[in-house]
Symmetry: C2
Subunit: 522 residues, 2 copies
């Protein structure tokens, strides 16, 4: 027993090691960043350890060590933002503290204590209150914190230490040294750019949406027969979620990345200021687009389902529309990825044709959009009348009738099959308490009495809506391209580029995430 315990305990470090390794292999930049942090800390420690440095700086070298620990962040933009905040906060706090020192100079001990206490209270109140201002909170929260820290440090120290000016100077210079080391490490040694991250995450969003849409429509029209393996089905459905969920949840990370990216100098070289806020805007338009994808996915998981026989009638055109939309998204992803303008005719005629096909497919099956019972009655009446009138159109209408009848049979078959078995088993049905069962089934039955084509109408309508919103996305992409000065499309071999791009995309999307430096060197 003891040996098994020892073995179990022995396995813990191994599993931790594997976990640590997986985190590093997911994104090797993490390990590189950790190495950079270790190096920066060792460098700054030398200030204290090496004799010549220590004689110049003295014990205050500790401030430099603290600065490095706090300021060095994963991306260059975040480091610059924090470094500048720390510098600015320290300078302003130093100035204010010296001013108060000037006022308090030469006063008695009690009055001095009062002045120090009152200024600490007032500045503490004001600075804390300022942190609630949205503009300050967004960009300068850390600066205000450091301002408060430095101010208190200097003001309170000044009560017992007379040489406040040298204290301020030491604090400023050591913090400057710390910031300099951080900036060197962050900007010049294998830098990670927030801008690159934002760029590649935007490209990834387009690709994710394209995958989601295609998977969702394919799943919707998948034959029930092949879909017997519940596991494979659940996997396919889970993969649909990943694409659009990433877009829907991207708001805060987009904003943070764009905020840090706006501090990064790199892109300012080839245009005055790179429009990172346009990426945020594009992200919000993409979220708007993704709501439709989420609703489309909702159709897939809805309790009220159009029977497969009906669905299969529209399989061709719907799949085609989805494929064309996905293709447009992939082209947009490729053009953003390579910083070039997308083709003016990116919203191709193929999509237009696919939409028209869908339109005519829906028009060719008008009876489906009748409520089924009602439809039967109406149908019988037409049949009777046609028999009475005995017109030449009999054979044609009979053919139409037969096709409808097949559908009606399919409908009733599905209904019977459904009433035999309880509502489809999902993970929620196990969780729910007994109270809810009757209500759920009540609703389910009510819903089933709706025209079965209604959910399909919603599906088709969402597809059309998606195309309309796709235009908004394209508009926003063109906006971005214009403002960011993407290079013009080389005419002639544009399709070649697109094809290459789409082929290489899976390989590159990983590579871009992992080696931002090489991607930046492109």
């Amino acid at each position: 027993m003891l040996t098994s315990l020892a073995k179990t305990v022995g396995r813990i470090p191994a599993s931790w090691g594997r976990h640590a390794w997986s985190i590093g292999s997911e994104d090797p930049r993490r390990a590189v960043h950790a190495l950079k942090a270790g190096t920066a800390l060792t460098l700054v420690s030398l200030l204290y350890i090496l004799e010549p440095f220590f004689q110049g700086i003295g014990k205050n070298a500790m401030w430099a060590v603290m600065t490095v620990v706090v300021v060095l962040e994963f991306t260059a933009g975040a480091t610059i933002c924090k470094g500048l905040n720390r510098g600015l906060g320290t300078v302003l706090a130093g100035c204010l503290a010296l001013l108060i020192e000037l006022v308090a100079a030469g006063t008695g001990k009690v009055l001095r204590a009062f002045i120090v206490g009152a200024s600490v209270f007032i500045v503490g109140f004001a600075a804390t209150y300022t942190r609630f201002f949205p503009a300050i909170k967004k960009s300068y929260d850390y600066g205000v914190l450091i301002f408060l820290l430095t101010f208190n440090l200097i003001t309170v120290s000044s009560y017992r230490q007379q040489d406040v000016v040298s204290l301020t100077r030491d604090r400023l210079s050591t913090i400057a040294i710390g910031c300099a080391i951080c900036l060197f490490m962050s900007l010049l040694v294998l830098p990670n750019w927030s801008g690159e991250d934002l760029h590649s995450s935007t490209v990834g969003k387009f690709q994710g949406l394209a995958t989601s849409i295609e998977a969702c429509v394919n799943e919707y029209f998948r034959d029930q027969d092949e879909g017997d393996d519940v596991l494979g089905k659940q996997e396919a459905r889970a993969s649909i979620q990943i694409g659009y969920r990433a877009v829907l949840d991207s708001k805060s990370s987009d904003e943070t990345l764009a905020h840090y990216a706006s501090w990064e100098p790199r892109h300012s070289m080839h245009c005055y200021s790179y429009p990172w806020q346009k990426y945020v805007k594009l992200g919000s338009v993409l979220r708007h687009f993704a709501y439709t994808v989420a609703a489309l996915h909702g159709c897939l998981e809805s309790e009220v389902q159009t029977p497969p026989s009906v669905r299969s009638l529209f399989r061709g055109p719907c799949t085609r529309v989805a494929r064309e939309v996905a293709k447009v998204l992939q082209e947009l992803a490729a053009s953003i990825k390579h910083h070039r303008r997308c083709a003016p005719d990116v919203l191709s005629d193929h999509l237009h044709e696919a939409l028209q096909d869908l339109n005519s497919a829906i028009r060719s099956q008008p009876r489906l959009f009748l409520g089924s019972k009602h439809a039967c009655a109406a149908n019988k009446r037409v049949l009777l009348m046609e028999l009475n009138s005995g017109s030449g159109k009999l054979s044609a209408s009979r053919a139409a009738l037969r096709s409808f009848k097949t559908d009606a049979t399919a409908l009733s078959e599905t209904r019977n099959a459904r009433s035999d078995q309880p509502p489809p088993p999902s993970d929620r049905s196990e969780r729910s308490g007994g109270l809810l069962r009757p209500t759920l089934s009540k609703i389910a039955i009510t819903s089933l009495e709706f025209s079965e084509a209604l959910p399909f109408a919603a599906f088709a309508s969402l597809l059309v809506e998606m195309v309309v919103r796709l235009e908004l996305v394209i508009e926003e992409v063109k906006n971005l391209e214009r403002v960011a000065n993407f290079r013009e499309l080389a005419t002639g071999h544009n399709h070649l580029i697109v094809d290459l791009g789409s082929k290489e995309k899976t390989r590159n999307s990983n590579a871009a995430a992992l080696h931002p430096v090489s991607a930046a060197a492109e």
Copy 2:
């Protein structure tokens, strides 16, 4: 000119003052928190200023000041979390530093420098790498930072200062004093609880969704005639967004609040651990519900619109379903707000009836779901045949025909009106470049050829889907109620409570947000 400049400059402080005042009046807890921060800072400064304290603690009192600045957060949970992180990080770092000191003790100067440098590098690398672990990042990021800070401080200092043990002890005790002052201020003086915030934001989400749904459906069925004022329309549409957008964007704030709330002791008194994670779960189910609301709102803004004459046919049942859904949401909000279980029959028969009304309304107008041209042809054929057959049903079918004709006329009128004027003016049409116009109109025309009832079918289907998802929400609320031990519904006067709750809700929702303490005292 100088006087006008002086006036302008003179107005700046006034406008800043107004801005500051508005931020405080939005949530007076902010001003209270700022006052608390000022008081805490003054208190901790006394450690340095007052003679007896200074003799005991000395210059290290500065660590206490820094701790207060950094640890005191807006809510109690956040303060506890940061304080514990800081304490734990310091203790662990102190232990490790002492261990290394033990190893390095008695070695020569060069070897000692090497040991210090190597340990700084290794610990720096390991700690920075650890911060990428999701579990660590979520709960202990600040603790690891403080660990690194303290470790470096002590280890590097130990190179020149022999009395490392007393340095460690001083740092620990001063940080403990700082944390104690923070905890006192945060937990005992007018505390803000993250849990209360999470609770009231959850209630607010339900209310926002209810408002959104009702406003959205009302807007959908609003007569075009009254809707001539574009400004009022835009305002109404903007108000729809607020409700569901707040739900869609709530993910990260929910998680943060739940994380901090889990540190708060308050609710642990009446049950072992309050299920804050259930609120996060409920938030995610609500987001799932809100996707449908977003899609419903999309129907309102879609380029393809069902003509008002057709819509008005379904106005009654649709509005009723929406009202019932909103009512259920309001009841759920009220029951969560007052920590009591909701009625078992919260999904009322009214909703059931409203759904059935909608169902029969859709069934009574089957022809609407035909494509319009096709419908006309089919209609004419029926008419001819009925004339031929000369059956007794003529008059009834004529009445049906007339009503359809009216709709058809309305359709063509709308289409003409649309083709006269360019696509509806929205803010994007001004923004868009010239390139896009032709494509947009191409799509718009294609879309218009779809059956006009298709968008309405989507709308109706989304309403039904919303009811289905409402059940999932109710299930999750009941889960929460069970796990959180909400008190049982007092039978008999439950409806009285609900009514009172819904009447007072607008008044209370503000009051709850502003005075969490009084809300907590309920």
